[in-house]
């Protein structure tokens, strides 16, 4: 059940067998660990540098990739301005697309 692309090929079955092997190795390593975890004790609390966390603290979705979004901010701001939500802009960009496609067909 593999599919070829001319040079490479992709076979999910082979991949699944390999993935199972890797998982088995991981599981074997995990079994070597010490079992000191106890349910219902302080160990269940999230650990953050030993600080006491306020009730309901957690990592929200907006916190993920904060640095990434911050680094790309100039680009993302520009893209956000591009998606202005103004219908006249939508139509203008449609005309741009139309002119580009007509030009490409005429010239190429």
């Amino acid at each position: 059940m593999r599919i070829g692309s001319g040079e490479g090929f992709w076979s999910p079955i082979v991949w699944a067998i390999l993935a199972l092997g890797v998982l088995a190795i991981g599981f074997a390593i995990w079994l070597q660990g010490r079992r000191t975890y106890k349910r219902g004790t302080e160990q269940e609390e999230p650990f953050l540098s030993g600080e006491r966390l306020p009730e309901g603290a957690g990592v929200g979705a907006t916190h993920l990739y904060w640095g990434f979004a911050e680094a790309l901010k100039p680009l993302l701001m520009r893209l956000g301005a591009f998606h202005s939500g103004f219908l006249g802009d939508y139509v203008g960009w449609l005309l741009v697309l139309l002119v580009i496609s007509i030009l490409v067909v005429m010239l190429g």
């Binding site: 956000g80 998606h83 202005s84 939500g85 103004f86 219908l87 006249g88 139509v91 203008g92 005309l95």
Partner: protein, 115 residues
């Protein structure tokens, strides 16, 4: 002068696009789209016109007629007009709903969906 109807219809299409880009009132945007539709309909009708032709109805044709205009573009135009009616009605209905929610018809202010 034979190409005049095509030129006029394309001018209408251009004016409609201009209205869509420049105007901000939702009703006027719907009018702009209608103007483009009318331009396209005019284009279709003038495609089938034959100079001096009569309406393409065989049973009512006068004896000794020379030419008839093409019936197919007229059928296309009728269909396009009906479709245009439906789209215009739907757009105006949404404009009413938007006005009830926001209290404005200014497309520059109706931009909750952006980014």
């Amino acid at each position: 002068m034979g190409n005049m109807p095509f030129v006029v219809s394309m001018i209408l299409v251009g004016l409609g696009f201009l209205a869509l880009i420049v105007r901000r009132n939702l009703i006027k945007l719907a009018i702009g789209i209608s103007v483009i539709e009318m331009g396209v309909n005019l284009f279709l009708v003038s495609l089938g016109y034959v100079r001096g032709g009569i309406a393409p109805i065989y049973t009512y044709a006068p004896p000794g007629f020379k030419e008839m205009v093409f019936p197919t573009p007229q059928a296309l135009t009728l269909t396009a007009i009906v479709i245009g009616l439906a789209t215009t009605a739907l757009m105006l209905a949404f404009a009413v709903v938007i006005y009830r929610h926001r209290g404005t018809l200014d497309a520059g202010k109706i931009r909750e969906l952006k980014g």
